[in-house]
């Protein structure tokens, strides 16, 4: 269905979420708390970059105006990015990175399970591959939530602070306009289970920050794009 606007935006949202979070996680490379974690974060970033490439290529194909994944990733400005606010949040300390990953991967896994059975075959093929990767991301992040929550006083208070900050970006994930509202109950149950294992309480509800899906982002995204898009902006038209 060329020019299918709904499908185009759907693929764009999925691609942008993966791209922006992959970019964020790759900032850890060489700087993580231990070598094993460095390798794991790079793995997750690589999975997300792969997903982003597939979803953005699909978006370009649906749009049918000659844009591929690179054109979409490197030559759009903030207003045209459709990722959620959660993924663009800075890494902060390790607890903040884990909080972001924990909330996102648990959501993304449920979403991708649905997408894996979607009627559009190009979408479902990407989803089926991604869901296996994301199950590992969710497991990795959940295990670290438990380690940090049930570790030292310091790790516990950092984990609480990380979750508290990221919690304000959760409602956007379930915005009924994008059709993900039905996943909320299962997501809540998963989050509650891990937090209970970590002896942590659910963060207090707070007014959700929204706008990412409409292109209204935090100030952080502009800086992320400035860095990511530098080469394509400095050398327009060159191939690499």
């Amino acid at each position: 269905m060329p020019g299918d606007d709904t499908l185009f935006h759907h693929a764009l949202r999925l691609g942008d979420d993966a791209l922006v979070l992959g970019q964020r996680l790759s900032e850890w490379c060489g700087h993580a708390p231990m070598l094993e974690v460095d390798l794991a974060l790079a793995n997750i970033a690589l999975d997300l970059l792969g997903q982003a490439t597939h979803f953005l290529n699909l978006a370009g194909e649906i749009e049918d105006e000659g844009r591929d994944a690179d054109a979409l990733a490197f030559r759009r400005d903030v207003l045209d990015f459709r990722n959620c606010l959660l993924v663009e949040q800075p890494n902060g300390d390790f607890a903040q990175t884990i909080a972001r990953q924990f909330l996102f991967s648990n959501w993304q896994e449920l979403l991708m399970r649905e997408i894996a059975t979607a009627p559009e075959p190009r979408l479902s093929a990407i989803g089926a591959k991604a869901v296996k990767e994301i199950a590992y991301h969710a497991k990795f992040a959940s295990e670290w939530v438990v380690r940090l929550g049930d570790g030292t006083e310091e790790s516990r208070s950092r984990m609480i602070a990380g979750l508290d900050w990221m919690w304000r970006f959760v409602d956007e994930l379930f915005d009924p306009k994008d059709g993900a509202a039905s996943l909320r109950a299962e997501w809540d149950a998963r989050i509650a289970r891990t937090l209970s294992d970590a002896a942590l309480e659910m963060p207090k509800p707070r007014r959700g920050a929204m706008g990412g899906r409409a292109g209204h982002h935090s100030e952080h995204l502009g800086h992320l794009l400035t860095e990511m898009q530098f080469m394509q902006r400095a050398y327009p038209g060159a191939t690499w």
């Binding site: 231990m34 070598l35 460095d38 790079a42 490197f74 030292t152 060159a238």
Partner: protein, 332 residues
Amino acid sequence: MYTTELKDKNQKSAGLSLADEDPEKLAAFEARVAADDFIEPKDWMPEAYRKTLVRQISQHAHSEIVGMLPEGNWITRAPNLRRKAILLAKVQDEGGHGLYLYAAAETLGTSREEMIEALHSGKAKYSTIFNYPTLTWADIGAIGWLVDGAAIMNQVPLQRTSYGPYARAMVRICKEESFHQRQGYEIMCVLAAGTPEQKRMAQDALDRWWWPSLMMFGPPDDKSPNTAQSVRWRIKRETNDELRQRFVDTTVPQAEAIGLRVPDAALKWNEARGAYDFGEIDWEEFYAVVRGEGPVAKDRNHARIRAWEDGAWVREAAAVHANKRAMRMAAE
């Protein structure tokens, strides 16, 4: 990535003399090594052999870890999604190499923490090559092509080094390094065939990385006091100058093939030797970089120390949690 063996002057003798070793055991050890047998962690070995290996393997591990920084500098700015994924995977491979190598060194009785402490205090060295900055995207190509190319020259013989765990780690590492070298050369090929700006970037990167890459093979043989002993013990299999010559002979035609100029006025094919003659290396610069005098050395060191110190609470939390869990399981 590879570090050639670097020694502090005051580390040189370390008070270890083969004369203190049991002559019978020493003779049996020397015979096994001479017969190309692998020495394994539980086997008897002279203290000087153990010390030399710990120093060499840990330097190699540190080089992998510090080597993540100059290339990591370009992951977030890679020019397209494919290059970003390749670079991230490559830098991740280097972290993996560091992990195998620390594990190999640990079989000799030194813990990873001790080795990392030695790196941070400046007691342990890493390859001088990582104290040069990555200024443009072409540097990522040059590092893969030249630095990993030099690493392969150094590492291929180490797959037959006498210490078993080191040799086996090197087999895995070499497979990945040859992929790294190819992707670097491919980046350079694309740049050399690209726009005038891209060609300039490629030539500039070759100009800056050529001599430091030649230095990666270490001091010339007549100024490398460890070489003879290390070759005899099969810790090293070929001398610094032999490996350096092979690197020049392999790399010069690759530069010519893509229209890049090697920055050495004295470079000339020597028909009689069947090899390239090349210019004098600036060893003053080499030793200054070994001493960590440049600004980049400080940045690299600070980045490693900061990552380690910022992560201390995470490592502590993981240990405390593992402990709590074990106690709870024991109580059940």
